[in-house]
Subunit: 98 residues, 2 copies
């Protein structure tokens, strides 16, 4: 097990008429993800100037916990639905504490 | 006072030989900023694949608190020093809870 804490910033560019669809999809994803082992925080936020920019800001106890998250039933079900709402490829950065 | 909570993700692209300079500059900035009224969290993180990407992830009680932060003596002193260590313009997003 790799033990250092991990931060994720996953920026998504959402079609204007799909923002409320994302709200509903993300609601279930957030509820289920926050119950996962190793999830310290998991938030979806909206850019104040560009409402189509919706970004997940996440903290995980380790990279292994993040990897496990991406194999959960809720992630595997909901993430492809979120992708259908995007305009273009998103930007994901995975960080360590500096 | 605008009261809704604010998230900031400020991504910086740092010159390879200036990463440790940034560590030292940021250390003082982080210590002082965490004492500020309205600062919920203030972290500097490093991309796991591109160590020159150093990103501040911040949570503030309100936009007014964030605005006040950018006028503090420590920010006004240290931020221009950080800019001197960058390769190119950074990317800042200011978010509301979605």
């Amino acid at each position: 097990m790799e033990e250092s804490m991990i931060y994720v910033v996953a920026k998504n560019f959402i079609q204007a008429d799909k923002v409320e669809t994302v709200r509903s999809l993300a609601s279930e994803l957030i509820t289920e993800t926050r119950k996962e082992d190793g999830c310290i925080s998991y938030n979806l936020v909206q850019d104040r100037e560009e409402p189509g920019i919706l970004t997940f800001i996440e903290e995980w106890e380790s990279k292994d916990h993040l990897d496990a998250h991406m194999k959960t039933a809720h992630f595997v079900k909901i993430f492809p639905e979120l992708l259908k709402c995007t305009l273009k490829e998103g930007e994901v950065n995975i960080y360590n504490q500096f």
